[in-house]
Symmetry: C2
Subunit: 145 residues, 2 copies
């Protein structure tokens, strides 16, 4: 298994263990994780810290040259907000655990030249299916529904 | 002057006084400010707290029904990330101080049915013109360039 997707899944599991929404993400530059994070809606009462946003925040202030060579891994197809952050910083490639349980703004990202790789990972699907079945109202809140 | 745009400008000035990037935002629901914020790149070393994102964060976890009736005020045309957050939460209307110094994702927002009102406010323009002239490298970092 890809160690970077594995790290994103570990972040998702960590979030679940904290009572949160199990979505994780890492940002990789030149083969090294420079930022990692998970959804913190429950833990911090945050409306903006989706997994990908938390990874951007934890990567800290980076020069444009780093973002332009980075790959973002996320366990779930990125929503409009996270896709917007990917476009703002010019991340050229996104590796997505799965898009069965939620299809984000993949068409928009592709139309702007972002390379997407969808893994259809069984563990990522299971984490979300179990969570959505257990806490549908919390999941709907997280996607603005 | 519209008190809500005035509040967004006050947030921008507050950010400037803190040594930060002068962009502010408020989110209004039924005539009341439910969240306000300003860019915190410098103050918190944040890559995700643009003015609009800070306002979303300070509004806290809100039900979809509140976002769907809210108006977001921002002193500057919203970038891809902030536009994505506006789309995620289904904000129906955005009032923009100015889009001369930076044109964000207005076309995308309009294409998704978001109503935009651009004020071309002289104070908003002046805040950004002065800031970009004084700190061009910091401004470029904030917009991923």
């Amino acid at each position: 298994m890809d160690p970077f997707m594995q790290a994103a899944i570990e972040e998702a599991r960590l979030g679940l263990a904290e009572g949160g929404i199990p979505i994780g993400s890492v940002i990789v530059h030149k083969g090294r994780i420079i930022g990692r994070g998970h959804n913190r809606r429950v833990q911090e009462g945050s409306a903006i810290k989706h997994g990908e946003m938390d990874a951007f925040e934890n990567a800290g202030r980076q020069p444009a040259s780093v973002y332009r060579e980075a790959v973002l891994y996320t366990t779930l197809s990125p929503c409009a907000m996270c896709s917007g952050a990917i476009l703002l910083y010019g991340i050229p490639k996104v590796v997505i655990g799965e898009n069965r349980t939620f299809l984000g703004e993949e068409a928009l990202l592709r139309s702007r030249g972002v390379e997407l790789e969808v893994r259809d990972d069984a563990e990522c699907v299971r984490l979300m299916e179990d969570f959505i079945a257990a806490r549908p109202e919390l999941w709907n809140e997280d996607i603005g529904e």
